[in-house]
Symmetry: C2
Subunit: 337 residues, 2 copies
DNA sequence: CCCATAATTGGAAGCGCTCCCAGAGCGCTC
DNA sequence: GAGCGCTCTGGGAGCGCTTCCAATTATGGG
């Protein structure tokens, strides 16, 4: 049973020979293509089983000009951005959808010039059948690389400045507006926004939603208190806010990490949440439930984001022309507001 | 400048022609191989630039029998296991190390039979130059697949039952022992363990460390209170513990998620941490810092785990025979104990 | 100035698979 | 019984690159 000769992988030709058919027939049989008689098909199947033959994906890729893989590129200036559990969920969704199309997932963390350069080469060399780009920042070189590459590309979230042809995004403006409206509806009038980096579209859009809601309610929006989406930056922003606007009674944080940071800063400053200050976050990650008090937050369908990106990419690869998609958010109320 | 003809990628032959050299020379020049005169090398470089030539990785892969990619396989019975931020950090480390060797990262979430089958095929067909396997459970079919595939394979953590030839692991027993010893050293005598799934080696090893430390201190170890590494399971385990052993005064949780859950259950039961019950976790993820009170925990070098796995794999791929590695842990004391 | 030696060079054979195409075989119809 | 439209079949030409090898040219010592 066990040969331990230094055997190579068996090739199609060996199957061909054992089954007594031509290469074309063997190839067709293996790919379940038509025009193969029942007898030959079975002969091929038998030979395949006997030899333990597995098609060589590289050779197939060369012949078909399809690699069978899609890249998920996460930009950022250092790899720590990827530590955000957000991406893990995107991956879960994308991975599932790619699997349906029998594509493999290539993950590229484009956090250094070197790695960005490698991504560029991947795109230009058609090292994948398509790519999903996420977390692009302003003037991100990846945007141009993607444009120049003649490869299907789907954006996750819109990059700052331009609106790509194909993207999946979450309704950031709407979600932020809803969060702010909720705070206002609970009687808060001095509501501040701890926003994410304003060189990202998410950061801007969520601030815009806050501002719109404030203006619509006849309240004065405060200028953006910028953080970088991390917990410490949220705490720092909250501290700054308390220093400049001691009378703040509501806070909209542009994500849960910063919301959790704000909660901590408030606790350290002796403010009671939600009595003194109500806080709403964005994302609805695990941290929102674990936070104390649990964080009222804007839920966004993260796995669905990944899934839809992948589906859109698959559609693109198969020659269709899908339309961009904006996924809805919904407010999840917990104890913090 | 901009041709918008439906141009294919330029091929080596076109470079060859433009530079006026043979294919061999062009190939050597492009790969920085020796035996190319200065003049021809420059001619090739010029042609490459002029044509915007990028080597086709698939063709190269077919010729060299090297795909230029390594797979990271995360097993599990459903994809949610991947939501654990643990993996994100492993990926950050692995990705960086692979980049140094100019390898791409293929991520496989093997959470269904279908996806496991695809991984098996990837392994058998040599669709990657090597693979890193993580989170294998007892009788995990991936173990056999990996064994049968003649492909370099590195394990992250040891699977239950067997000790693979190449692996990188964390000192789970030592870490758990240290955590328990610390609790004991703080005067706790009725220390319980909330352990992870006992069909994983991590779960077993951490319980073993707890038990060893208890026995060494002349205390009675409690039977394992099993959770599944999630926050809710930690809370449930803690509740069960309080019901069966109301006098418990110390808890070692096999990871931070469950530690956070225990904290919540204790709070809900009116116990004060660390006065009534001291709690120690394991992992030192972000949740440990955010928890209230902040969780004393066993820090493990997660990114380093990923990095070392990747390095070991690279060594294996390049024909070396590296030795298994066990990474040290260290206790980080915070307010919970 | 000639020959041994080393550095370059280009031809050509793969790597393993897909797929176009022409030809063969076969059952019908008219 | 010839002609037509099928389905099958296998030959062979790629896909784009690496690399072995024999041939060519450059180098240099005697």
């Amino acid at each position: 049973m066990a040969e331990d000769a230094p055997r190579r992988q068996p090739t199609l030709d060996e199957v061909t020979e054992l089954a007594g058919v031509s290469r074309s027939v063997a190839s067709r049989a293996i790919n379940n293509a038509p025009h193969v008689s029942r007898a030959k098909r079975e002969a091929v199947e038998r030979a395949v089983r006997q030899l333990g033959y597995v098609p060589n994906p590289t050779a197939r890729a060369l012949a078909t000009r399809q690699t069978g893989a899609a890249a998920l590129v996460v930009s950022g200036e250092d790899p720590s951005i990827f530590a955000d559990p957000f991406f893990a969920q995107v991956i879960v969704g994308a991975s599932a959808a790619l699997e349906e199309a029998d594509l493999h997932l290539m993950l590229c963390l484009a956090a250094s010039d070197r790695s960005r350069e490698r991504v560029g080469e991947l795109l230009r060399s058609k090292g994948a059948d398509g790519a999903m780009l996420m977390a692009l920042r302003e003037h991100d070189p990846l945007a141009r690389m993607a444009e120049e590459a003649e490869m299907p590309v789907v954006f996750g979230g819109r990059p700052v400045g331009t609106t790509p042809r194909w993207y999946v995004d979450v309704d950031n403006v709407g979600g932020a507006r809803e969060a702010t409206e909720y705070l206002v509806s609970r009687g808060r009038t001095r509501v501040a926004a701890i926003c994410g980096r304003l060189d990202t579209e998410v950061g801007r859009a969520r601030y815009r939603g806050y501002r719109d809601a404030m203006l619509a309610a006849g309240l004065d929006p405060l200028p953006p208190q910028e953080g970088d989406f991390t917990e410490p930056s949220g705490a720092a922003a909250m501290a700054a806010l308390l220093a400049n606007h001691p009378d703040v009674d509501g806070v909209f944080a542009a994500n849960d990490n910063m919301g959790a940071g704000a909660l901590r800063a408030l606790r350290e400053a002796g403010r009671v949440v939600p009595v003194d200050v109500a806080v709403v976050g964005f994302d609805d990650l695990a941290v929102a439930q674990i936070a104390d008090p649990p964080l009222t937050t804007v839920h966004q369908p993260i796995a669905a984001l990944g899934r839809e990106m992948a589906r859109m990419l698959v559609a693109l690869i198969s020659g269709q022309d899908p339309t961009p998609l904006i996924l809805p958010t919904r407010l999840v109320t917990r104890a913090s507001a």
